[in-house]
Symmetry: C2
Subunit: 142 residues, 2 copies
């Protein structure tokens, strides 16, 4: 396997991705998607804002927030809520769960085969399933 640099991975077809999800492909949305999908990762809104404007101003704070919310609603990315003061956006939407280090704030994927639920619980009446989040909170060992 020859090395594929981060830079090369950036050259993915983001326009098609947006089109598939019924999202008008504006400059800002393309750039934000570029960042999110360069690799599977967990970024906060602030981190996205920072990265998208790293080389010149591309999008404002409002646009980043709006875009992330839009992407999440359309199913391109997943919101991960582990800390009341910050939402992470996960560009990996396949079934998997998370480790959250409460000391460092680091969020990591748990390989799905490592963690299996024994059957779905019976849902309360009148509701339907949206999603299941499993957060394994860890702290740095003394």
């Amino acid at each position: 396997m020859l090395g594929i640099s981060d830079k090369d991975q950036h050259v993915l077809n983001v326009g098609e991705l947006l089109a598939q999800h019924d999202i008008a492909p504006t400059q800002q949305r393309r750039q934000i998607a570029q960042i999110l999908f360069a690799q599977p990762q967990h970024l906060s809104a602030d981190q996205v804002l920072e990265r998208v404007n790293q080389n010149g101003t591309v999008a404002s704070k409002a646009t980043v927030y709006n875009t992330l919310g839009l992407f999440a609603r359309k199913g391109l990315i997943r919101e991960v809520i582990v800390d009341p003061s910050k939402v992470f956006y996960d560009s990996n939407t396949s079934a998997h769960h998370h480790f959250y280090n409460i000391d460092t704030g680091l969020l990591q994927d748990i390989e799905n085969q490592e963690l299996n639920l024994q059957g779905l619980p019976t849902l309360p009446a009148g509701v339907e399933l949206d999603s299941i989040d499993i957060i394994v909170r860890v702290r740095t060992a003394e």
Copy 2:
């Protein structure tokens, strides 16, 4: 089993509970504990504030926040984070998980026997387990 009313349940020995957890039993803390442990429930800081001052002022906002944080650190109650803009405090600290209705904001317990994890995932190096939260998000059926 003769009925025990909610009111009777309020007459629990909160002083002892605080002492067991190394918490100085002030008026405010006793009142807040009284509310939390009247029954297993999920309350936000704001709801606690409201209830504690229902019949005359007992505690300020700052004290309620400080006290809930203290109780959580000391293990009397558990923080449940399901919504980035609000933390719930759960007076049931036994192993169990939650349904969260994203439309109504209602948080409900899942009986533990209904949901079992198949083995712990291998923890990343250098960390130790803190807790595991499972949130089953549901929405009101159409």
